[in-house]
Symmetry: C3
Subunit: 156 residues, 3 copies
């Protein structure tokens, strides 16, 4: 399982970063039973927030979708850390909550979060099909354009 | 169980629509253990978003409450599809997250989401008593006035 | 366990209020399996919302962090009511969702929610280390500056 997923990541040109640890009094993920709750991930790339500003004003749709992809990549990186390196232990992506920093009048949050949904489905296959919500925020930490958190079902 | 619920729906004049399938790489619900996570539902009626705009500016409180009711009806429609038509298998509505597209200064998100809470409680009775959050958004997909997602406890 | 937690509350000068019951058709918490979902809590103190307005305009960072602390205190009060008074039955704080009413350009939602994360960690110790999301809202019910909901793992 894990080899197939790692192959897909390679084919898609995706290198998972080192999972970042929060700098405050919380953690990047918590497992309870066979659910893994992953903290809200920002579009981090090379250690910094790669896409900033309000979508629909400072950030165009393509850049916002790229931000959502980066959030998804960071979710996978956190899951890999939680699962001792074995992404094959993700039995199902249960839910993604997609938060899009939105300029007044921007109403395509669903198209933005498709960037994450497509990446997760492409990398994980059938277990990657998830429920989700996509909503528009006034602003996000560090001026990030997108933040996404996740609930995953995992094999113990 | 199911008959009682269907009777209440009839008495309230509610016809559940066909559950809509997302047009993108995600699904309307995911079951894990005995939890059912339902994707964010918009106020769809007859196949389109029935209530659009920012509550407190374009949309008044009564219309926003109607939007929340429609979101709740669509949650029930998705649950019915997930549960092979048997809403009696909902043992508890665990959580509703209510997202209200809010004009500056609109601070009655709780009253808006009461539209959904009342409908769910009226239709499902005691199992319909849920935890919830109600918050104000900058904007929502397709300019929807309200979006609501849900976690349900279900009998397997 | 519970005595240690109650001692820490005392040392920190925190008195948990009576858990407030919602005035509408929903409840303050729902337990399913060993998960406890707590409704979104506002910064209530002495029966009213203590910190109101948009953070970054009406509310400064220190006041917003105090609001987040009050939300966390109310989460603990609800959990105590749910657990027959025994906070030692919280085996893990799984997730906090922190919603910050944000003026345009305010991008330190993470620092605001640290107020809650620090308090939970200080009171509960290791079981208090949680996953979280921190996001910026257009507005919140009753003009609250912060709202936080929670998922807790509990001993049955």
């Amino acid at each position: 399982m894990s080899e197939v997923i790692e192959s897909r990541l390679s084919e898609l040109g995706i290198t998972l970063p080192q999972a970042a640890s929060p700098a405050a009094n919380y953690v990047a993920y918590v497992a309870t039973g066979n659910l893994l709750f992953v903290s809200g991930q920002l579009p981090m790339e090379n250690g910094k927030v790669a896409v900033t500003g309000l979508v629909g004003a400072d950030v165009d749709l393509a850049s916002a979708q790229r931000a959502a992809e980066l959030c998804a990549i960071n979710i996978l990186a956190q899951a890999k850390a939680a699962l001792d390196g074995d992404l094959g232990r993700i039995t199902r992506v249960v839910k993604l909550n997609g938060f899009v920093a939105s300029a007044p009048g921007f109403i395509e949050q669903h198209l933005v979060i498709n960037g994450a949904s497509n990446l997760i489905a492409n990398v994980l296959g059938a277990p990657g099909k998830h429920a989700r919500a996509a909503v528009g925020m006034a602003a996000l930490p560090f001026n990030a354009a997108v933040e996404i958190d996740a609930v995953l079902e995992i094999a113990l």
